[in-house]
Amino acid sequence: MPERTPSQTVGPYLHIGLTQGGYGAREIFAAVVADPGLSGTHIRIEGRVWDGEGNIVPDAMLEIWQADDQGRYSHPADGRPLASNSFRGFGRCPTDKDGGFAFDTVKPGSVAGPGGSQQAPHINVGVFSRGLLKRLFTRIYFDGDPANATDPILALVPADRRGTLLAKADPAKPGLFRFDVRLQGADETVFFEA
């Protein structure tokens, strides 16, 4: 049987191949995951990526993967029909010179979990950058969502670290959530392996 090809870093020039907006080629990925007409609660998630010395990371890229507002994934392993054929549930965004990223999407619904459980609304996140030899994988949950209390994945995270997975609503701007990624350090984001 063939053996897996090892992972390598995206390096500092990932934009040429992965986020080509500035390089003239046709863009097929975007940070806008939900068209304005898509059903659900439209939200924007903004944040920054930080390294272990408290410096922003201006050459990272985030990918998000999520269900629609009914908790359905646009994928054969889910198989349930989606309300909108235009919804793919995938977004990609490079960080800017301030380490910032932003996704425009809808809040996902609850998704089936192990053993008949329900997972709280969450967005799956992949993080890539120079200095990361393989993708980091985390989740965005929504601060204050009552379903978090019974989420089977959050239950695996030590209570004092769960806060790193919670996007917080901005009280001044309805629909805006803030979520930072800390690659290393005291408030290091919880990263997963599955």
Binding site: M1, R4, Q119, E188
Partner: protein, 235 residues
């Protein structure tokens, strides 16, 4: 919920912290990863295919008015999973520097010429048997500031999704016999020498087009779904 995808195969990957590659020192997590079950969120993933990519995107030598300088090459191979099964309709994205070792990127200040006829980005989608093919030019080696007199061996970056969120792979393809291999901390971040060899393409005389271009073969093996469930009662 039983695992759908293998876990053990990850042993081929480099660790997050690989101190000789300086960038990993402040960007690698220090806390252990938290192991979670493979739920619907992980066994699904983005689906992109033939409708998203034009055939011209696979030829990096035909994206401008003229042809780029350098040695024209064919890069071809198959995308497989660990079970040896082809992965059809898989999006492959690549990027690379030009023949002089310079990226068309604002951050790259290497004192080597840009080529007005070369961007260095390509995309294609595998066919029903998992085959892909790009036309490009052989990338050059280039210096970087990791340590004194540091040079990257010639390489092409490749990015693939595979069938789920868990099969995502970004890697680099290297060329046979590169004298820079022993000195490159990124290549050597992969601990197992046999696994490092799996990042080196193979010269393929049979695929070479006479009077036109040399060919290199590079098969890409993604994390696979498990052939046999461990616990048949709950399969």
């Amino acid at each position: 919920m039983n695992d759908v995808y293998s876990r053990a195969g990850g042993a081929a990957d480099p660790p997050y912290l690989s101190p000789d590659y300086v960038g990993t020192r402040t960007r690698s997590p220090k806390r252990p990863l938290i192991v979670i079950p493979q739920t619907l969120s992980e066994i699904t993933g983005p689906v992109y295919g033939h409708g998203d990519v034009t055939p011209e995107a696979a030829d990096l030598t035909r994206q401008h008015a003229g042809e780029p300088l350098g040695e024209r090459i064919i890069v071809k191979g198959r995308v497989l999973d660990e079970g040896g099964r082809p992965v059809p309709n898989a999006l492959v994205e690549i990027w690379q520097c030009n023949a002089a070792g310079r990226y068309r990127h604002a951050v790259d200040q290497h004192d080597a010429p840009l080529d007005p006829n070369f961007t260095g980005a390509g995309r294609c989608v595998t066919d029903a048997a998992g085959n892909y093919q790009f036309i490009s030019i052989k990338p050059g080696a280039y210096p970087w500031r990791n340590h004194a007199n540091a040079w990257r061996p010639a390489h092409i970056h490749l990015s693939l999704f595979g069938p789920s969120f868990l099969t995502r792979l970004v890697t680099q393809m290297y060329f046979p016999g590169d004298p820079l291999f022993p000195f490159d901390p990124i290549f050597n971040s992969v601990p197992d020498p046999k696994a490092r060899e799996r990042m080196i393409c193979r010269f393929d005389l049979t695929a070479t087009r006479p009077e036109w271009a040399l060919a290199y073969n590079f098969d890409i093996v993604l994390r696979g779904s498990r052939a046999t469930p461990l616990d048949p009662d709950h399969a």
